[in-house]
Amino acid sequence: MDYCLITFSSSSGAIQAQRALKGHLSFQTMPVLREISASCGIAVRLAPDAADEARSLLSHSELRADEYAFYGISGHGPTLTAQPLFG
């Protein structure tokens, strides 16, 4: 896995998640990968080793578990693969 990606069911959910993660771990905001969704959306990118901590932080936030999803991303371009995590 090159990095961990968190997607959200809404943009407001993505912003809520950023508030929950900010100050605890390093992350970047990026568009949802086209390989995962065709619609415009906000996703959060993390280092692979930060996935567990992010999952714990989000589980204690106002977001419900079905409002976000974790993916493990490997490769890029035509070779990109997105594997669901914590399924």
Binding site: S11, A14, I15, Q18, Q28, T29, M30, P31, I42
Partner: protein
Amino acid sequence: MSRIIDAKGKACPMPVLMAKEAISAGESQFTVLVDNTTAVGNLQRLAANQGFDASVEEKDGAYCLSFLKNGSLPVASAEEPVCAPAPSAGYAIFVGRDIIGDGDRELGTNLMRMFFYTLAQSDDLPRSILFMNAGVKLPAGDEQVAQHLQTLLDRGVEVLVCGTCLNFYGIADQLAAGTVSNMYDILTRMQEAGKVISL
């Protein structure tokens, strides 16, 4: 003997303006005295853009820039446009604010970060990215955008940041990516570009 232009104590953009006057008057050799490194950088860029060599000497906290016309490059006269727009000149991105669009600031901040994330991975890069007014808060304050700008710099994109604006917001010392610049250089990049995308 070449003319000496004393621009010590002059605020940006006066040193550049004074040097530009000398160039417009057809002077091929002159010297400009300034007292800060921002002015040195601005004058060096002016020299490069106008076909001059500019050597710098520092003495007692002052800088002496000796302008000498480079015979291999033509100097634009006052009547000629500095640069003619050409379709092959690529494109420039002008960023005059720190969020994309109107409305919610938090959403606009996210959109701006996603824009630079995507741009840094793009195969079709701009020649230059130009920051003014609240836009300067991105290279001087937004850690994620600054990282993407560094990637773009490494890929050959020029990033110019308005020095007047940095000083206005009191964040000149926080600039993390890009070059402190001025209205002359920023306008020139717009004029050179085949198109300018404004955010």
